[in-house]
C-alpha cells in the first residue's frame, strides 16, 4: 500500500454514544443564559429609567402630546386616507 493510499483512508468512524445530546444540552443551557442576560439587562435599564427620569412630568407631557395629535386636522386627514386606501385595496383585491 502506497503512502497516498494510506493517507486517503477515511478517519476512523466515531460512534455518537450520546455526544450530540450532550452538546445540545450545553447549547440550550448557553442560549438560556444568553436570554437571561438580555432580559436582566433590559429590566435593569427599565428600573434605572424609572428611578432616574422624572416620570410624572413625562406622563403629563405625553398626555398633552396625544391630545394635540388627536385633535390635529392634518393627522385626521392622514388617518382617513390610510383607512380609505386599505378599504379600497381590499375591495379591489376581491374583484
Amino acid at each position: 500500500m502506497s503512502i497516498d493510499d494510506l493517507l486517503y483512508q477515511p478517519l476512523t468512524s466515531v460512534a455518537d454514544d450520546g455526544f450530540s445530546g450532550r452538546v445540545m444540552d450545553r447549547v440550550r443551557a448557553s442560549a438560556r443564559r444568553r436570554l437571561f442576560a438580555i432580559v436582566a439587562g433590559v429590566a435593569a435599564c427599565v428600573v434605572l429609567a424609572f428611578l432616574l427620569l422624572p416620570m410624572r412630568n413625562i406622563g403629563t407631557q405625553l398626555n398633552l402630546a396625544i391630545v394635540q395629535i388627536a385633535s390635529s386636522t392634518a393627522v385626521s386627514i392622514a388617518a382617513g386616507v390610510i383607512i380609505l386606501t386599505l378599504v379600497l385595496e381590499r375591495q379591489f383585491s376581491r374583484l
Binding site: D4, T12, V14, F19, V23, V27
Partner: protein, 173 residues
Amino acid sequence: MLAHEAAAGDSAAFGVLVRRHQSKLRGFLLRMTRGNHALADDLAQETFLEAFRKIAQFGEGSFFGWLCAIAYSRYLMEARKRKLESLDETDEVAADAPEPETASLVRLDLEKAMARLAPAQRAALTLCFALGFSHEEAAAALNLPLGTLKSHVNRGREKLATMLDAWRIKAVS
C-alpha cells in the same frame, strides 16, 4: 441551508448539524490529540458551542471546513495551555494509541507515524487526504498561506514515508 436556519435561531437545525458532523470532527481531533479520546471530545464540544455562538458569522462555503477552523484554533490554544507537545516537532508517541486488536496494523502504523509529525503537518495531511479538502480549503481552515500549507503537506508526507519505510525494514529484519 441548515446553518442559515440555525443562525435564525432554530436549535433543532443546529442539532442536525451536530449529528451530521460529529464523527468526522471527533476523528480529526482524535488524530490531532494523538489518540486522546477525552481531550478530543472536550475540544469537539467546545468547538460546537463556539460554532453555535458565532453561527451568525458563518457566510458561504463548507460548514465542516468552518468547524475545522474553530477546532484547530481551539486545539492550538489547548496545546499551548497544557504544553501538550511542541507545536513544531515532536518525537513522542501517543500513550493511548489504538490497540492492535481494534485497529489494523497498517492504520496503527499510520497513526503512530502521524503522532510524530508537527501538529500543522498532521492537520494539513488529515484535511487534504483523509477529509478530502482542497489545498485552498485546508489553508483557510488552518489559517495558513497556501504556500505554507502545501509545504506542510509535502514535508509531512515525506517524513511519513521515511518513518514507515524504516519501520517496515526493521520489522522485516
